[in-house]
């Protein structure tokens, strides 16, 4: 797979490759934020539950 990708990368002109690089960087950022966001939601939900005197979470 990587070889195919590499061939494609080599086939791109400089401008397109730089655009692709930016896209990959922003996608990596998106992926990073995707995880953090979900974890936050869960922990926030949990803390809300605790404050409301709700059920303790299953550990």
């Amino acid at each position: 797979m990587n070889n195919e990708i590499l061939t494609e990368i080599k086939g791109l002109n400089d401008s397109d490759l730089l655009v692709l690089y930016d896209e990959v960087l922003s996608h990596l950022q998106y992926l990073k934020e995707s995880i953090i966001l979900e974890e936050k939601e869960v922990s926030e939900d949990a803390s809300e539950n605790q404050e409301d005197g709700g059920e303790a979470k299953d550990e």
Partner: protein, 539 residues
């Protein structure tokens, strides 16, 4: 863009954004469990994709690092340095073939001019020894006899020739100084006297030197200037359009690439400055072409004008002198006679001193007379000093008699080279020339005169009323550029030149093998390369 990575990004995003995190089925606990499991699955997927895209990132970075290395233009500094040295060599040949004095050609004038009141004793001795060595090279062996300008120079030189580079000279100097505070000036005058004494020998040496040097470089008196200007133009153009230098301006952040891109607002703003309708974009293709060609000329002319302003005080001085050139003719001739007469007097005082020193036929030593002649000599030297100053000043004005009525600005500037002392005084009294040595300033002056891109210097008549600002502005107005007198006067030329330089850089890049957008890519790549190198260093 349609490639595997872009497609994967899309699929990735779709998959993550549409990941089912909730269920309607089951109890609350089941729903919560489902939710937690879904988050875990989604995060696992995200993490796995992070690893994949991290690899892609590395692959692209490696490729960009490789491309940056391959696409970065070659630094040709070494090649240019050699060519520039060749240009300098040709300029020296121009000087050798010019009408300047032989002592100027041999740079003896610079050496003598470097003796000043503030010159240290060590420097003074080195200058004199250098002078003697140079003469040896010319085939003239200087002895104590050549340094008998006054009893003081003889005394000093007798010690120096016996003890070069010795601490003894400090005591000798001090001893002479109290009897003759002008000893440095006297030594300087002695050196000048030697130059005029050996005028014929020096001329022969220079003639042979010019012949040999011309032969070596395959030039002659008639073609040396054109060879110099055309080669200087060739090398200058190469450097101006050099891909490495122009890229480095942006890579080293001396210029902002975003200001130079095709759609950059700064680009439009700068191009509009000289557009006759204030809107470059609205010009037809043909008019744009004409505009660009005219701006290219304007760039060269403003460079010339800027340098002209730098030396304008010389021109003004010469024009003022020109008014008196006729009356100076006779003054110069009589001043020359006066100098000869007073010089003979100096010799007379020296001879009488020798006699009082007990030297010569029937001579008897007489200390009181010796002291008197020493005082008389000091006074005579002061007098001669003034006369020579006046003579040199008159010489410059007198030389203007050689100018024809149709003399150009260039001709007038060139005439300044006929008097070394005039140049020396011109460049010594102005603080803008202080940073460089006299030799460097004179060299710059030569470069100004022989600039291959000079446009008006050789065309404008200097001896009739002229307003150079109007001449330049009118010329470019005729070429349909919006250039006003105010834009290029002394106060505003720098700002206008900044705009012209901006356009000129774009033009130079357009004439080269690299484009602005390619430089833009290099700038972007450099950010990645630098990051990559930093990471390697950290590892």
């Amino acid at each position: 863009m349609n490639n595997t990575i872009t497609k994967q990004i899309e699929i990735n995003k779709n998959h993550i954004d549409n990941f089912v995190l909730e269920t309607d089925e089951g109890t609350k606990k089941v729903k919560e469990k489902f939710h937690l499991k879904a988050i875990q699955d989604r995060n696992n997927y995200v993490n796995s994709q992070h690893v994949v895209f991290d690899k892609y990132k590395v692959l692209i970075e490696n490729e960009l690092v490789e491309r940056f290395k391959n696409k970065m233009p070659v630094d040709k500094t070494e090649e240019y340095d050699k060519e520039l040295a060749e240009v300098d060599k040709l300029l020296n040949l121009v000087k050798l073939n010019s009408t300047i004095h032989d002592s100027f050609k041999l740079k003896l004038d610079f050496l003598i001019a470097s003796i000043k009141e503030e010159t240290s004793l060590e420097d003074l001795d080195n200058i004199i020894l250098d002078f003697i060595n140079r003469f040896k090279k010319y085939g003239i062996v200087l002895t104590l006899n050549d340094f008998k300008y006054t009893m003081f120079t003889e005394q000093y030189m007798s010690a120096l020739l016996d003890n070069p580079n010795s601490d003894i000279m400090k005591d000798v100097f001090e001893k002479i100084y109290f009897a003759c505070p002008m000893i440095k000036i006297q030594l300087k005058m002695n050196l000048k006297d030697i130059v005029s004494k050996y005028e014929k020998e020096l001329s022969k040496y220079v003639q042979k030197l010019v012949e040999d040097e011309n032969k070596k470089s395959q030039v002659n008196k008639d073609n040396v200037v054109s060879k110099y200007t055309s080669y200087r133009f060739e090398v200058g153009t190469k450097i101006a359009v050099d891909e490495y230098y122009n890229s480095k301006l942006f890579l080293d952040a001396k210029k902002k690439i975003t200001d130079y891109l095709v759609d950059a607002p700064a680009r439009g703003k700068n191009y509009n400055v000289f557009a006759i309708n204030g809107d470059y974009a609205s010009l037809s293709d043909e008019d744009k072409q004409k505009y660009n060609s005219a701006v290219m000329g304007l760039y060269l002319t403003l460079n010339e004008l800027k340098k002209y302003y730098n030396y304008e005080f010389i021109l003004k001085d010469l024009l003022e002198r020109y008014k008196n050139k006729d009356s100076v003719k006779s003054q110069y001739a009589s001043k020359k006679k006066e100098a000869d007469k007073e010089n003979k007097k100096r010799l007379g005082i020296y001879k009488k001193y020798l006699k009082a020193n007990g030297i010569g036929f029937l001579a008897r030593k007489n200390d009181a007379k010796m002291r008197n002649y020493m005082l008389e000599m000091n006074e005579q030297i002061k007098k001669l000093c003034t006369i020579y100053d006046e003579l040199e000043d008159l010489e410059m004005t007198n030389n203007l008699n050689k100018l024809s009525e149709s003399a150009s600005i260039y001709d007038l500037f060139y005439s300044a080279l006929s008097s070394f002392s005039f140049l020396e005084k011109s460049f010594s009294g102005d603080e803008k020339f202080e940073e460089k040595s006299l030799e460097e300033n004179v060299n710059d002056y030569f470069k100004f005169l022989y600039n291959p891109n000079n446009r008006f210097l050789r065309k404008v008549n200097a001896l009739t009323e002229f307003d150079i600002v109007s001449i330049v502005a009118e010329k470019y107005k005729l070429l349909n550029l919006a250039v006003t007198n105010e834009m290029i006067d002394q106060d505003n030329i720098d700002a206008t030149m900044d705009t012209v330089k901006y356009i000129n850089l774009i033009q130079n890049i357009d004439r080269s093998h690299i484009s602005i957008s390619e430089i833009n890519n290099l700038c972007k790549m450099q950010g990645i390369v630098v990051k990559d190198e930093e990471e390697i260093e950290t590892v």
